[in-house]
Symmetry: C2
Subunit: 335 residues, 2 copies
């Protein structure tokens, strides 16, 4: 392995000078030494050891990103954007999938801290509030909550404006004459985005003087089978809904599969609006009306936020709620 010492020897300068060169501190450096160093580095194919430099500088240029599951295209897109931005800033990302399992999340937080990451972007499972509060927030560790808040905890948050987004969907259905609207969501278990979407749904109904019928709300296992089960339940009701709002793209997959299998026609038999304008919603037939999240903006805002936090940590906490957009397609109809 070739180290800074080897370069120093080869270039006939001290390693301090090499270090200065590597860190772009050219202020007082003579042109000739600069050239000699450059050549030595080239000749030796030297690559600075970032672990050593991290130890010394107390900065790793690494951001931890903790999400539920990278197979969810929403998170995939978020991570893609985030990594791209961070790459340009010479930062790397350590990716952690928790599967919304608090035990895994706990271990992820622990090791990310042990690895001295400069900051964490966290989509929490909701099951580690104490740890997050004690070991991150109270210690002023640079943290940005993404997509989900932690109940009762003050921290920077970057997320979709779930109330606005839900209203967008509900408004659309309402204006098309729908009054019995079913809602499908995942077990809330402390996941704020899910709770907020349900609450907004209920609030909307109340504001529009529609009876809130608890049987129109299904919440269950957030996967494809869950979606099937949910839509089956809702459509089996005595008085079934004319429209369905799926708040999770993963559920939507199951909903569509179920409707196809049962030959229930969208939108004639039932209208559908789904959260997340993921890339496949326009290839199902008919293409789905969707609430699009501003994923790139979420990624940008999260990274801005974490870097601000890293730089000075005395600012008040921010809450950045970004609006969703309604993409109208043909899965909804007027009745």
């Amino acid at each position: 392995m070739t180290t800074i010492n080897d370069v120093a020897n080869k270039a006939k300068v001290s390693k301090t000078t090499i270090s200065r060169y590597l860190n772009g501190k050219y202020e007082y450096m003579s042109e000739s030494t600069k050239i000699r160093i450059e050549k030595a580095i080239e000749d030796l194919n030297y690559r600075p050891n970032l672990v050593a430099s991290s130890l010394k500088k107390n900065r790793t240029k690494t951001i931890g990103i903790i999400i539920s599951n990278i197979e969810n295209p929403f998170f995939a897109a978020f991570v893609q954007k985030a990594e791209q931005i961070l790459h340009k800033m010479d930062n790397n990302v350590i990716l952690c999938n928790t599967g919304d399992d608090p035990k895994i999340e706990r271990k992820d937080i622990d090791t990310l801290l042990g690895r001295q990451v400069d900051g964490i972007l966290l989509t929490t499972s909701g099951g580690n509030n104490d740890l997050i509060n004690n070991d991150l927030i109270k210690k002023d560790f640079p943290l940005v909550l993404v997509d989900r808040r932690v109940s009762g905890l003050k921290a920077d948050l970057v997320a979709l404006d779930n109330e606005q987004a839900t209203y967008l969907a509900m408004e659309h259905l309402y204006q098309n004459g729908h009054r019995r609207i079913g809602l499908l969501t995942g077990y809330s278990a402390g996941i704020s985005s899910r709770i907020e979407r349900i609450n907004a749904y209920k609030k909307f109904l109340i504001e529009h003087e529609i009876d809130t019928d608890q049987s129109l709300v299904w919440s269950g296992v957030p996967n494809q089978n869950g979606g099937k089960e949910g839509v089956n339940k809702l459509l089996s009701l005595q008085n079934p809904p004319t429209a369905l709002l799926s708040t999770l793209n993963i559920l939507t997959l199951g909903i569509i599969e179920f409707l196809n299998q049962k030959n229930i026609k969208i939108p004639n038999d039932v209208s559908i609006v789904t959260f997340d304008d993921v890339y496949w919603v326009k290839v199902v037939s008919p293409p789905l009306t969707a609430i699009k999240q501003p994923i790139e903006e979420l990624a940008k805002a999260s990274i801005n936020c974490i870097f601000e936090r890293m730089n000075k940590n005395n600012k008040p906490f921010k809450e950045i709620l970004l609006p969703g957009t309604l993409i109208k397609r043909s899965s909804t109809r007027s009745i």
Copy 2:
């Protein structure tokens, strides 16, 4: 920040002993000190600095994963599985998306080496063969090529058996009476999987004494619009294909969108087989016949391979080709 020294002071032992404790070297350790250390760690909420330990041990417990794009559900599933396995082994992953841009890939390799990752799982863009050869392979750096080989370079490889998989698809179409079969793929530009699939396609045709008509092969930009363009080209031919084989799930998306828009019916007007049994192919109507890659096995094999390479580096290179599976659905028909 609390360090190993603080724990040593608190537990009234030397930091050597603490270090032994942290590394599970209990052999000669008295029960009483063990307990005192445990308590001190607990009291101080001490978390070992992994950067320091990495520097000393020359091992980071970090694997770099370089892929083209995490938004491709194939890679998302691969990374998900890989991260899950590595997590259990107390390893973390640094994720790098290159977008198949060799410049980005080069920088990723550089920084991963600088960060002293213990190994790299690489899906190469095909544009950095020299770098890969000189800085990784020749230096015996633990490397596993995933999904794509590097032409002319000897290294461990874990990938789909592209010939077998392509044959599976072609056999299926052939047995259903198709003789004019169109192939859609992305620009090959050194990406071996794409080349292998085209070659297998041609080989199959020759073996079955079917004229290979170059106009039935479309290769272009590997995205949704590419898919649209490709299917449009192929179906506009004088003598259009009766079946289409899409070797890229991203292209398939565009193909389906195009066919829906033009109201061309699958499988009556054209049959479709797609590579990658990604989660949405069964929700399009009709559900798509797909070649399923053994993603979990690919992830397991890659990780086995990289750890073997890390442990002893004198073994001959392995080439692990895993078979695909044909999932028959209703997007193909007999003619």
